[in-house]
Amino acid sequence: MKNLQISPKEYATVILVESNLLERENFIQISLEEKWNVVICEDGLDVIQWLNNNSSADLLVIEENSMPISGYQIADYIKTELGLALPVIITTGKIPIVQERRVLAYAEGILKKPFVAASTILQIRETLKKSIELAPEKNDYYSLNYLKDLSGGDEEFIMELLKVFSASINSELKNLNEGLSQKDYLRIREIAHGIKPSFDMIENEKAKGICLLLDSIAEEKDIPKLIEELNLEFANINKQLINDFPELNLI
């Protein structure tokens, strides 16, 4: 496996599986223009190994008839078995593409070979843009899985809920800190009980666990430390949300 570090780390990491060496070189030349970080994998098994050993990539570009496992099978395996929301583009030399519907059942896009700079760049940019919009990088602070399930993938509603989350927790943490300064432990318990489902809905187990402790078994001497930890965890969640969804204008 050859990892071609052709651009700074902050740019998109694109995994390429292409057996034709001329096409491979062609793709690398195109990627230089876009500053993609291209990782060359020899086949699908190589891709799985790379994904298991490295931090997440942004896109997989894989040939339809990759051996020994086809591009479709790899796309399916990555999504269902590895549970990664990695967008996949299937490349094919067959023109016209007669099985477009079949390809798009597994992948986010199709790219015709030989690679032509304009159409390759356009297709990859569009796929990367969609993937950023729909699936922010996996992080330690929140997950949208529950909200997606709840809303049937309604993006507008998910964004609305994230705004509600940020604003309501921000306000309740102020109340919680006020409760602490007044040593009003009943109020603290009630607030922690009330906000626990919000952390549960974005699947932050740490904050949910702190709320559970504050709500039930925490001793008075432990409460200041737990509230401090909760404040910090929320600050981290909010920072991540601001980073992932600047359009929400969260504070």
């Binding site: 399930d149 709840l150 609305e160 809920l161 509600v164 009980h193 489902p197 919000s198 549960d200």
Partner: protein
């Protein structure tokens, strides 16, 4: 269209319930605390009530007693973060029809609501 009263104080849970129940074809009204709920109950007839137990001003238990006294046929589903057996048992002993823990499973909520609405 069935009329459902949701009594809940967590804004995220409120939004989620409103979204899901409306999407399922129901007419949803929201009360953010026990007092607001009592006002709405005086002025409206509901086909189903979904209520939290820990509410500002009037507790969920007080509210359940009030509903049972004034509109005994209206089915009640308790929504709570609590999974403690005694809390669940207390709710059923007060006459509630169902108990769902938060955060709720969207499909499970739809099924349970539909089941109670079709009974009545």
């Amino acid at each position: 269209m069935k009329k459902i009263l949701v009594i809940e104080d967590n804004p995220m849970v409120i939004k989620s319930l409103e979204f899901k129940l409306t999407k399922d074809g129901n007419d949803v009204m929201i009360a953010h605390d026990g007092r607001e709920a009592m006002k709405l109950l005086k002025d409206n007839a509901f086909d189903l009530i979904l209520t939290d137990l820990m509410l500002p001003f009037v507790t969920g238990n007080e509210l359940i007693s009030y509903i049972k006294k004034n509109t005994p046929k209206t089915p009640i589903i308790v929504l709570s973060t609590s999974t403690q057996e005694n809390i669940i048992m207390d709710a059923f002993n007060m006459g509630v029809d169902d108990f769902i823990t938060k955060p709720f499973s969207p499909n499970e909520l739809s099924l349970r609501v539909r089941r109670l609405l079709s009974k009545n």
